[in-house]
């Protein structure tokens, strides 16, 4: 190695090691995202819990999905304008994420706010029509033992407001919610005009967000002792 090259690499190592903690941290990215993405809203609190039914009739709760980054949105099939566009945008993001190893660590959740009409069959067709990949896409609706408005109540706990029109339409906002691997509600991307690469990058940062090396299976002394007894 030439002396100048070695000096250059040494200088790079020195310069970068100083800022290694902040360089690509989630906090740093959130700050950058606030500057770059007008439709990004950091949240930072526990996501509202739910126990809904998927298309196969199984109950799915927030706890079942821990360890996976969630991209969650609310729509209904008979929505005439923004819902189909929102589904298209989610499918576009899913296609971007699914071309990377993130496909195994991210799940897309579509929750209907019109469970009376949006049967699993209807929503399966809806998903296919909009190009949503079943590999990591889940449709959720109310369970039979829940009140009909359970998903709308959930949407309200995510900050949505509903206005029922005379012709049966539900006016509500278009927001894509991002939930981290620990069930924390980390951000909203509002509307449809956000840059999809910004959402993908934010999800990527959450997928790679590490709390403490070895923390996933760290049995302490007393845990081991207790286990033996």
């Amino acid at each position: 190695m030439q002396p100048l090259s070695a000096l250059g690499i040494a200088a790079l190592l020195l310069a970068t090691s100083v800022s290694q903690v902040a360089a690509h941290s989630l906090e740093h990215l959130e700050t950058e995202m606030l500057n770059q993405e007008a439709y990004f809203q950091p949240v930072g609190k526990d996501a509202p819990d739910f126990a809904l039914e998927n298309a196969e009739g199984q109950t799915v709760g927030l706890g079942d999905l821990k360890g996976t980054v969630l991209v969650l949105h609310f729509i209904y099939n008979s929505c005439p304008d923004v819902c189909p566009l929102h589904a298209d945008r989610i499918a576009e993001i899913q296609a971007m994420i699914n071309q990377t190893p993130m496909r195994e660590q991210v799940r897309f959740l579509t929750v209907t706010t019109d469970p009376a009409r949006d049967t699993p069959e209807v929503m399966s067709e809806f998903g296919s029509a909009h190009g949503l990949d079943r590999a990591n896409w889940t449709f959720l609706t109310t369970r039979r033992d829940q009140p009909e408005d359970a998903t709308r109540q959930l949407a309200e706990s995510f900050g949505h407001q509903f206005m029922q029109t005379e012709d049966g339409y539900q006016a509500h906002g278009v927001v894509t919610h991002i939930i981290d691997r620990d069930g924390r509600w980390r951000a909203n991307f509002h509307g449809l005009d956000f840059d999809p690469t910004n959402l993908v990058v934010f999800v990527n940062a959450l997928v790679n967000d590490v709390h403490e090396p070895g923390s996933h299976d760290g049995l302490g002394f007393w845990d081991q002792l207790e286990a033996w007894f």
Binding site: H24, D195, N204, G214, S215, H216, W228
Partner: protein, 207 residues
């Protein structure tokens, strides 16, 4: 004439006897506890010290011992379908745990228009991700390539030696660092060119 000893002990003597009895009871209790839990305690002792041939946690298999200090790191590159970029990974490296390594990725814009990209990264197997530390990388930052321009992207990383002590990850001998470039699109490109126009001109013509 002999003096008859007292039949009833004095109060200090009774107190001393009580202390002795209590001490014996404590010792008896401790010994009983040790006997009752001798098997798990011995197992714990052996696991902590390695005594008696018990394998320690850090070395899950005999073969894992030499592998624990070195790991092979491979690199993988991808670009979104709408990007006319050729994105090339560096050669795989064998590195010692804890050792910092510098590698260079390279991208060339083979299109006829400037393209603004941003990259995401992933580490596989996923269980190795928490031990893979990047000090410097180009992920999350916007990268502009003019038509025909090529650029090298340095990545400095190390693998935390703690991976060898994790029973779930100590068997990892190969780690893959994967990058995917996405096209930021025309609106972001125009915004970038507006904000950085002067810098781009001052850097001269592309390669």
């Amino acid at each position: 004439m002999a003096v008859t000893s007292a039949v009833h002990p004095t109060i200090p003597t009774r107190r001393r006897n009580l202390v002795v009895v209590m001490a014996l009871l404590v010792i008896l209790g401790a010994m009983s506890t040790l006997v009752a839990f001798s098997v798990p305690l011995y197992r714990l002792f052996c696991q902590v010290t390695g005594y008696g041939g018990t394998t320690q946690v850090a070395a899950s298999t005999a073969e894992a011992v030499p592998q624990a200090s070195f790991v092979e790191v491979r690199f993988d590159t991808n670009v979104a379908p709408d990007m006319p970029w050729a994105f090339t990974p560096p050669e795989a490296v064998d590195i010692r745990l804890g050792e910092e390594q510098l590698v260079m990725f390279k991208a060339i814009n083979r299109g006829e228009e400037p393209v603004l990209g941003t990259a995401t990264f992933n580490v596989t197997p996923f269980k190795a991700g928490e031990y893979f530390n990047k000090i410097e990388c180009f992920c999350f930052t916007e990268q502009l390539l003019m038509p025909g321009e090529s650029k090298e992207f340095p990545v400095i990383f190390f693998v935390d030696p703690a991976i060898a002590d994790d029973p779930n990850a100590s068997d990892v001998s190969t780690i893959t660092l994967s990058y995917t470039f996405f096209n930021k699109g025309e609106a972001a490109l125009n915004s970038y060119l507006r904000d950085h126009g002067a810098d781009i001109v001052s850097q001269g013509e592309p390669e």
